[in-house]
């Protein structure tokens, strides 16, 4: 479903070169939930952003459902329709109400009729548990509610893959649970998910596979049981000692 081969992303600025992603090869299967963990600056977010073309990779190959993302001929907008993304800072549209946030892209990109888009929007708001807020503006919502709207907005496009970029890192602790709950439900429904997070509990409980990245490299990967109980690499052990 998602395949990256020797993916590299290099930032050049102010005389120094940063290898944010330094040769990551990974394969993510349909309905798989993959959690990427690692210290900050390890390139996990950059890697995730490469998967829907928000960052242009420097070299290597990305394949989403057989479509080569690195090819110049690929229409990125077509690919992005199938790949939903949830951001750390929610990035809801502040000038639109909750329902409009969810309806807009359906109308503009998927060319759905108003009634159809709204029906879908209401259905998704119900699913993420904030049906009563549809006419509010995002600013009136708590962080957790905003992030759930953002998830609903991404789901409205009927994506085949969902990417989560530290979805709970900007939330107050008491709101983390409600967002993770929605994500768990999605995982149970068989959505293919790639999640960058610091929530080890979520990784342990929901992930099919955990990838550990450090300094742009994929250091270790495995099932949660293997990863959290018997890590092989020294770097992984050091990281886990600090976060657990």
């Amino acid at each position: 479903m998602i395949k990256t081969v020797d993916l590299k992303k290099t930032f050049i600025g102010r005389g120094q070169t940063v290898h944010a992603v330094d040769g990551v090869t990974a394969h993510i299967k349909p309905s798989e939930v993959v959690v990427i963990i690692g210290p900050s600056g390890s390139g996990k977010s950059t890697y995730l952003r490469c998967l829907n073309g928000l960052e242009t990779s420097t070299s290597g190959k990305i394949e989403i459902e057989g479509v080569d993302l690195t090819s110049k001929k690929t229409d990125l907008n077509r690919v992005r329709r199938e790949v939903g993304m949830v951001f750390q800072q929610f990035n809801l549209f502040p000038h639109k109400t909750v329902l409009q946030n969810i309806v807009l892209a359906q109308q503009v990109v998927r060319k759905r009729k108003d009634s159809e888009a709204e029906e879908k929007g209401r259905m998704l708001l119900k699913k993420v548990g904030i049906a009563e807020k549809e006419h509010e503006y995002p600013i009136r919502l708590s962080g957790g509610q905003q992030q759930r709207v953002a998830i609903a907005r991404a789901l409205a496009m009927d994506p085949k893959i969902m990417l989560f970029d530290e979805p709970t890192s900007a939330l107050d602790p008491e709101m983390v649970g409600e967002v993770l709950e929605v994500m768990k439900q999605l995982a149970r429904e068989g959505m293919t998910m790639v999640v960058v997070t610091h929530e080890m509990g979520f990784a342990r409980e929901v992930a099919d596979r955990v990838l550990f990245m450090d300094q742009g490299k994929l250091v270790e990967e495995g099932t949660p049981e293997h990863f959290f109980t018997a890590p092989q690499e020294e770097r992984t052990k050091a990281f886990l000692r600090q976060v657990l």
Binding site: N52, R80, R81, M85, A105
Partner: protein
Amino acid sequence: MLCAGLWIATKKIDYTWRWNRVPQYFIYNNETLVPTPFDGVVASVSNLGDQTQIKVVSENGEEKTFEVDSHTVEVSEGEDLFEGDYLGAVFEWRAGPLLKGLWVTLWISAVASIFGMIIGLVTGLCRVSNNPTLRSLSVTYIELIRGTPLLVQIFIFYFFLGTVLDISRIIAGISALAIFAGAYVAEIIRAGIQSIPKGQMEAARSLGMNVPQAMIYIILPQAFKRTLPPLAGQFISLIKDSSLVSIIAITDLTKSGREVITSTFATFEIWFVVAFLYLMLTSVLSQVIAWVERRLAVSD
């Protein structure tokens, strides 16, 4: 205090205030005399209240009916008339030069604002685009316009472009104003677009929108809201700057004022009145924009 000071100061230079001369230059009752076109006889005079109908029959039987204001009737039934004799007069309210000038200033500013906005929007978008050619073109335009005085631009538009391209003074004036305003609007729009967090564009793109769609639905509406106060300032400036087109003989409010002064010598009064009229235009615009701002503030 201020008024008293002004009064004393003008007293000192023996200035006689003649405010009573001003109103007629706003609106006046125009008298049009109605002459008879041929030699003949007044066949009938029938009073219809304010108006009076006068029927005149010429020597060779031609009949004609005229309508004049009742209190101006100068003929009676059976009277012999010669060609050019006045039957009476018609009074009509007409806009005076100040009112006409105000109207010219208003529509010149409005048209220049609309085109200035369009030019500014396009240039602002070019300014933030990834295309280096578009970017440097827009930068050149902005620097060129911001670096030269508007008065000189108006002269160039009128004397050079006006002659070369054979365009009228009014089009030259409006184009100069629009292109001048466009440069400033472009910078305001650019600042507005750049003030929107990057995450907004990323969120729009991640939903599959292309750049124009993201601009239209996500970025520009938010940028517009933020740029409304500086845009308002720009358009208020434009109304005031439009007074400069009087220099190429467009009869706007300023030029009308100058013309009225030459016939009244009421220099002080007229300039105060002209200033007040500009103030009226600009404060109405301020109010309208403040209202729009309040409307847009619902999502804050």
